[in-house]
Amino acid sequence: MKKLIIAAFFLAGFIPAVAQDAPKLYTLPSPFERYTHYLATLRFAGAMPLGSFADSYIDKASFQNASISIEWVLRNSPISIGGEIGSTYFQKRLPRALYQNGNETISAVQTRTLSQYPVELFGNYHFLGKTSSIQPYIQVSGGVSILDNVLYYGSLSSQHQKVAPKYGVGLGSKFLFKQDGSVGVDVRVKYNGTAYKHDYIEKGVSSLNGSIGIFYRWW
């Protein structure tokens, strides 16, 4: 009986929603086309270290990455601009090995970590219109990354922190759940480069980042 009541409640919510899909009386363009509107995205990402960063420091993929962005989708233009802040974290554990530090020989289990908190501005160019339920885009971004590089020898750590310039190039697409709706999924692949050199990291930090996110737009 209880189950039936619950089912009835669900239906009660569902049936009016179906009823609202009746033919439209007015054919005004979508407000998302008429106004410059806002769009916020929350992303979770997997990241793969690339290049010399992967060769000399950490080559292990990471899934502890997230970001939040907010953008202004400009009226009468395929462009949107915004800001994004995030957190990425790479870690690699090496079994006990000997390291040479000057004349010293160090035997330790190394744990290499690199946290980054990128703060950047970006511009997106959209290939299809704002009412399209699939909206592929390309992205260019630039900003700074707050780096926290901690290298552990056993339980001893050496830390180096720096704010370094970073840039990114991405390719992605938004998928709206409902045509002209305000919620959808965002998928993006992005290359990130950070100009940072310290110790093992000799030629900057680069990674390829694949994210899936959820966005909300409003005006």
Binding site: A40, I85, R96, E104, S107, T111, G154
Partner: protein, 204 residues
């Protein structure tokens, strides 16, 4: 609306940043140990035949010294004797003019750290209105102490003393750091490791 969104972004951002991880929480005690060895590059270890060792451990705590001989200390000293004999050195009494002498020290350094309380008013900014925290009381400083201990094993050259200033050169030393250095079950691992990574000590 925009203001609210920015606010949300800021709070979420601070949330992301404040999630700190402890990447070494999964290290075993054995894995946490770090062995650092160094030696005089000019020393030729084959010239040394005999050694002696201190009869107790020197405990250095913030520049105060005393000696101790606990069960742990005895284990460490005995294991060093065994390893030195294995490398070809003959264990002799300190009175029989050993070629090298081994000192074992337990060093503890204590550091005093300062933190300002409350934290900067900067962090209070997102309560809105453009105001930070207004404190009705003066800020103060609080202190916390951290201590770090390690074993220091050094080998002194008794054969070639500096006659001018009456000192003995340290020709080899080893530091053992990390969790577990005060536990008897790790003594063999620790001592074996510092000798194991110093192959040049072998004379037989």
């Amino acid at each position: 609306m925009l203001k609210k969104a920015s606010l949300f972004l800021l709070i979420a951002g601070l949330g992301l940043i404040s999630c700190s991880k402890d990447p070494i929480s999964d290290l075993s005690t054995e894995e946490s140990l770090v062995y650092v060895t160094n030696h005089d590059q000019a020393a030729n270890f084959t010239q040394y035949k005999t050694f002696s060792i201190v009869d107790s451990v020197l405990v250095v705590e913030n520049n105060r010294q005393q000696t101790a001989l606990t069960d742990l200390d005895r284990d460490v000293l005995n294991r060093i004797i065994t390893k030195m004999q294995g490398l070809g050195y003959k264990y002799v009494s300190p009175k029989s003019n050993p070629d090298v002498g081994i000192n074992v020290t337990w060093v503890t350094n204590t550091y005093l750290n300062v933190v300002s309380q409350p934290l900067s008013s900067y962090y209070g900014g997102y309560w809105g209105g453009g105001y930070g925290y207004g404190y009705g009381y003066p800020s103060y400083y609080s202190y916390y102490e951290t201590a770090e201990s390690y074993w220091l094993v050094s080998m002194l050259d008794f054969k070639n003393p500096n006659t001018a200033n009456k000192t003995f050169n340290v020709i080899w030393d080893a530091q053992i750091r990390g969790a577990g250095i005060g536990e008897r079950q790790y003594v063999d691992t620790m001592v074996d490791s510092i000798f194991g990574q110093s192959g040049y000590l072998k004379i037989n």
